[in-house]
């Protein structure tokens, strides 16, 4: 168990810099999730921490040691790969034993440790099987077992759930969270799925194009996104963005509707007003948006409606009971406190 810090970490392939100075401090026992669209540098960062990718610039510290020039095996980390990477020609027991390759333990200590890990992961009865005889979820569990057996300072997970089907993914997500509560090691988890990020993380690191956009707890990044990208990336369905123009103390939407503002803007400043689908309500006293429903997606207790309006297509989450039909005209409004306002050019949050 250990702290981990990244200091001005950069990565370049030839002339192309893909990671532009990442700074991050992770404290002991924290569960941190790197999330972002593909190509944002999250997996590269993880592989650099693991020692599988060379560091172009900056420093990585694990447990008070700078590990830049250490081999993966000397860094006291363990990694779980997206496609499990459990060795197909060995039994589960041998696979897990490989995690103890360099451990200074006697044979009996090793096998006791393997049994213990198998028990924690609830796979004692699978130890003598070959990977080909296991299901996807069981394979992933073996991969986690191989990482756990060493009790590393830091666990690295590289999109470990993306090869599983939806139901299994939810189940494994829960198991990983429980496992973290049980063993308490520091975990860095990479995913492109914001739901996974929200549900698992103590803190989320949102990345885009090799830059960190925001670091914060799931609540922070959801309720106080620092820019329009984070606002749209976190939360499903995405936040609606309405174009607007600032006039000092208030702003006007495209349809001429005026909204009060808590901040002062320049006159004529281009703005984006963000409204989460959950914050939109049907038939308000002062409607912001009016339009016809083009698509509706019933989810049971609630229904998503897609409304074609003068602001473009707007999605709202409304109660599932008596939800309006396709083609119906609806008026949508929102509590002014729930609005997010961003500068249209820089994307930075103003409220």
């Amino acid at each position: 168990m250990a702290d981990l810090s990244l200091k001005k970490l950069t990565k370049a392939y030839g002339q192309v810099e893909v990671l532009h100075g990442i700074d991050l401090d992770i404290s002991d026992g924290e569960f941190v999730v790197f999330v972002g669209p593909s190509g944002c540098g999250k997996s590269t960062s993880l592989r650099m921490i693991a020692g599988l990718e060379e560091i172009t610039g900056g420093e990585i510290w694990i447990d008070g040691r700078m590990v830049n020039n250490l081999e993966p095996k000397e860094r006291d980390i363990a990694m779980v790969f997206q496609n499990y990477a459990i060795y197909p020609h060995m039994t589960v027991r041998k696979n897990i034993a490989f995690g103890l390759w360099n451990a200074p333990m006697s044979k009996s200590e090793k096998s006791a440790r393997i049994e213990e890990v198998a028990r924690v992961l609830d796979m004692d009865n699978l130890l003598d099987r070959k990977p080909s005889q296991l299901s996807g979820g069981q394979r992933q569990r073996v991969a986690i077992g191989r990482a756990m057996v060493r009790n590393p300072a830091v666990f690295l997970f590289d999109e470990p759930l993306s090869n599983l089907d939806a139901q299994l993914r939810t189940q494994m997500r829960l198991e990983i969270k429980k496992l973290h509560q049980k063993v308490g090691n520091t975990i860095i988890f990479v995913t492109h799925d914001q739901v996974e990020a929200m549900t698992l993380a103590d803190r989320i690191v949102i990345m885009k194009d090799g830059f960190i956009q925001q670091i914060g707890t799931p609540e922070e990044v959801f309720h106080n996104p620092v820019n329009a990208f984070v606002a749209q990336f976190i939360g499903a369905p995405s936040m609606n963005m309405l174009e607007a123009t600032g006039n000092g103390q208030d702003l006007s939407l495209r349809n001429g509707e005026k909204l009060p503002l808590q901040v002062t803007t320049l006159t004529g400043q281009k703005l984006l007003v963000g409204i989460r689908p959950d914050d939109l309500v049907l038939h308000p006293e002062t409607p912001l948006i009016t339009g016809n429903i083009s698509v509706r997606e019933p989810l049971g207790s609630e229904t998503l409606i897609y409304v074609s309006s003068s602001h473009g297509e707007i999605v709202a989450r409304v109660p599932g009971k008596d939800a309006p039909r396709v083609g119906e005209e609806v008026h949508l409004g929102a509590n002014p406190d729930s609005l997010h306002v961003f500068d249209a050019e820089s994307g930075a949050a103003l409220v």
Partner: protein, 295 residues
């Protein structure tokens, strides 16, 4: 027809059945044709082997008779060849040479193939092309430089002399490199994190994953060396150093070629290749298929 009417009583069903019967008949014809072609192919392949065995069971005066069944079958040739000490020596020579060459190829070809496949280093492509380009030079052209080399190093008439040109092959390196392409890097990286060194990763993780390719290569190399003729003939001088093919060609004297003895020796010498093939055959078929896909 009665079946059809029993099934439904509708005329449509009856015609359906009729058509499917016709189709079945056509399928059967196709099947028979295919079997006939395969049978002919099999016959062509088996004929030389049948003649080899038949000739080995004939007396010398009957050798030039083309009949497949010997008039007076005898195992005299077998007792002669096996009691003649020379054949035994050649057999041992061939076994030693084929085995060592095979093991060496399995080890070095896959080591080089793995390195060329999985490591990024400057000049990698040049090295690979250089190795591949040696495939374009025919053995006949290489024999003279090999001979001169063997002579200056004092390797003539020795195991080392016979073996050295084939201890590593460009073909094997290429084959193994292609197969290692199919081993995902994640396995190697997982092993790196588990703490294995690069050699252990190759030996314990990568090698077991390309077993079919190794089996195929083992058969290719073993057969190639077992039947090698030109180079062993040139590099050996003494009868004791001959391999089976070289030794067999010399059966008889200047005037008369003892075909019945050559065929007997050949028949005996197919045994090891059969054994090797039987051991590895379940891999080789897969291996050849995969090599074809990769190629």
């Amino acid at each position: 027809m009665s079946v059809a009417s029993e099934v439904s009583g509708r005329p449509q069903a009856a015609t359906d059945l009729l058509f499917s019967r016709k189709a079945k008949k056509q399928r059967n014809m196709g099947q028979i044709l295919r079997w006939m072609v395969l049978f002919l192919g099999g016959l062509i392949m088996i004929a030389p082997i049948a003649y080899m065995i038949s000739t080995s069971l004939k007396w010398p005066h009957e050798v030039y008779n083309v009949n497949l069944i010997p008039e007076e079958p005898t195992i005299e040739n077998y007792t002669y060849v096996l009691e003649d000490g020379r054949f035994y020596g050649w057999f041992v020579n061939s076994i030693i040479i084929a085995l060592i060459t095979t093991v060496s190829n399995l080890f070095f070809d896959s080591l080089v193939g793995y390195t060329l496949c999985k490591f990024r280093f400057p000049g990698r492509q040049i090295v690979f092309i250089a190795i591949l380009s040696t495939l374009m030079i025919p053995t006949e052209m290489l024999v003279i430089p090999w001979y001169m080399m063997s002579q200056s190093f004092g390797w003539l008439d020795s195991y080392w002399g016979i073996m050295f040109p084939g201890l590593m092959t460009a073909f094997g390196t290429f084959l193994m490199k292609q197969f290692f392409e199919s081993v995902p890097d994640d396995f190697l990286e997982a092993a790196r994190i588990d703490g294995l060194n690069e050699f252990q990763i190759w030996w314990r993780i990568a090698m077991p994953l390309v077993k079919p390719a190794l089996a195929a290569l083992a058969i290719f190399v073993f057969l190639g060396n077992w039947t090698a003729f030109l180079w062993p003939l040139i590099v050996t001088n003494s009868v004791e150093m001959y391999t089976v093919p070289v030794g067999l060609s010399g059966f008889g004297d200047e005037v008369d070629v003892a075909w019945e003895l050559i065929m007997t020796g050949a028949a005996i010498s197919t045994l090891p290749t059969l054994i090797v093939f039987l051991i590895f055959q379940r891999f080789i078929i897969r291996g050849v298929v995969m090599a074809g896909l990769k190629g």
